[in-house]
Symmetry: C2
Subunit: 344 residues, 2 copies
């Protein structure tokens, strides 16, 4: 079969959630936006709900409605983008909890759906989503009187524990929320690892669930195996691939595998990535093309049916380094053509 | 609504195909692999079939089977990866035409599906897919006696007209195929633009259909509009986004829009990209994050509901430049969360 196989270890996702859950005394939510970081939001949320997760976070109302369809009634589904114009139907039908980001959104929500649950997102310094402190102080009493499910903010630099921005955002968040009755949340994965001062009533791990940094102790979740289409002999001096990007330094055996940047194998990684045949590295040669990658398999005695891009020898973050990006983008880029195989 | 809108002009795809079709005397196929370069293979193939396209090309048998479901019987569907182990069911059910890349694939095909249509892919120097010339010469008479639908090869450097590799591959292709009865094909979009010597019996445009280089005269096909979630005032010296990547040089108005690298807005473009409000540029500030982008809208009198990333002012290839990649990757990365709107 030409399609590559993306194996997703739901058991590892569950263990990562449980490990992060054990770090804090409050509730532990789960961020499953962007289709569960590319892995399948429905399957992941169902697996986490079985072990006790009760609060899930998505980016948009559309994602929230799909997730409600998968989870059924019961779990809380928070929407980071809040209540936007045109979202009312999804928010109501999906029993979603929009995290209101502005006074405009608050007015829209209480007018369109009076009494419907909501949370509040405050900006503590990242300047991306959430009410500004001054805006919040102006509406705080009215907002709190409506009993929000959660009052939250998000850290800009939590992946860098020594960055003074973390303490500064913590101080701002406390200054504008200390003393309120509503449950509070500040930490995603990075914030959870910064320590209990950042935990408040709920932590919201995302990338750590999926085996990515900054959760260095995470259990790996994904392996990606690419089927070999053919192997050819290439003589010293011959070129391989688009733009003649690789010139064979010696007579070589080159395998062409199915998988390319249309599958989210980011083109920028080029020949910085390595494929593995068991424990044997097979360097990528030439450019990553849309559907195909070429690799030097000269060191193999027997050529297997597949070569591995992600797994035991190469983590999501190692691939990210090769592509000059972060593990989060590697995960969310995972393509639609893969045969996804889930294990528990 | 939080979801961004990806508008796809099927009429422009049709015009691009017709323009390329007019350049050559032979048949003009259409490459719709990778889900039609991210735009919707089924809708594009149906639109092109209506105006006379009879041959379509996909990367894998899985893609071919989906396309057959959309197109119905009649059009030829070629599969670039050939006939791989496990593909037989799809090849038979989908009435697909695998482009056999090796003697192994040829044996598999004739044993599994004797009499079933096929084509042959030859390597003329790219060393990626296709039979090597020596391999081909060994099986050529047997292969031709089975009446292949097409004998094809692919150019490695067709995007660079002055690259001597083009003439070299043309010479190789002619040397190993001149005099055969089967129809021949060498050119994708770039090769089509190299001139009639490269056209043979069929051209196979891909990226040019979708408005991308090297087809500089292509009609643009996609526009991408990102909804604004909120706008905030940021004082001079404040930072925006992850890693405090942008520091406001003056008091500014910053819009946060829905769309990020999980939607295929490649993270590497960072603040090299620009969003547009009508004709007014709004520079991206800070990092592209998973679901959100921040842009400086200080120059706008009135803030619109959406900002445009791709369209009149910024082509697919301009975005590719900002991201350090090629238009092909921008197209195939287009995400699943967009609301896709098709026009004719």
């Amino acid at each position: 079969m030409t399609s590559a196989t993306l194996s997703i270890d739901l058991g590892a996702v569950v263990r990562n959630w449980q490990t992060l859950d054990a770090l804090s005394e409050g509730e532990t939510g789960a961020v499953v936006k962007a289709n569960g970081y590319g892995l399948d939001a429905a399957k992941i949320a169902i697996a986490l709900a079985r072990v006790g997760a009760r609060s899930f976070f998505v980016a948009t109302a559309d994602e929230g409605l799909s997730l409600r369809d998968a989870l059924g009634v019961g779990p809380e589904i928070y929407v980071f983008s809040g209540h936007m114009d045109g979202d009312t139907h999804q928010v109501r039908t999906g029993e979603l909890t929009p995290l209101l980001n502005s006074v405009d959104q608050m007015l829209r929500h209480v007018e369109a759906l009076p009494g419907h649950r909501f949370g509040l997102q405050l900006d503590s310094g990242m300047n991306r989503l959430g009410m500004e402190p001054a805006e919040w102080l102006a509406v705080r009493d009215i907002a709190l009187s409506q009993q929000p499910e959660l009052v939250m903010s998000h850290l800009a630099c939590a992946d860098e524990p020594s960055n003074p921005m973390n303490a500064q955002q913590l101080e701002t968040f406390r200054a504008i929320t200390d003393g309120i009755d509503a449950p509070r949340s500040l930490a995603a994965t990075g914030g959870t690892l910064l320590g209990s001062a950042y935990h408040f009533d709920m932590t919201r791990p995302g990338v750590g669930l999926y085996g990515g940094l900054p959760f260095a102790d995470a259990a790996p979740v994904v392996t990606l195996d690419l089927p070999i289409i053919q192997v050819r002999e290439v003589e010293a001096g011959e070129t391989v691939g688009y733009g003649n990007a690789w010139v064979a330094p010696r007579n070589s055996h080159i395998a062409t595998v199915s998988g390319g940047y249309a599958d989210g194998i980011i083109r920028a990684m080029g020949s910085k990535a390595t494929l593995y045949a068991g424990d044997t590295p097979c360097p990528v040669v030439g450019r990553v093309s849309m559907d195909l990658i070429t690799a030097d398999v000269s060191n193999l005695g027997e050529v297997p049916e597949t070569l591995q891009l992600m797994g035991k020898h190469q983590s999501v973050d190692a691939i990210a380094d090769a592509a000059g990006t972060i593990g989060y983008e590697i995960l969310t880029s995972l393509g639609q053509r893969y045969c996804r195989v889930f294990s528990e």
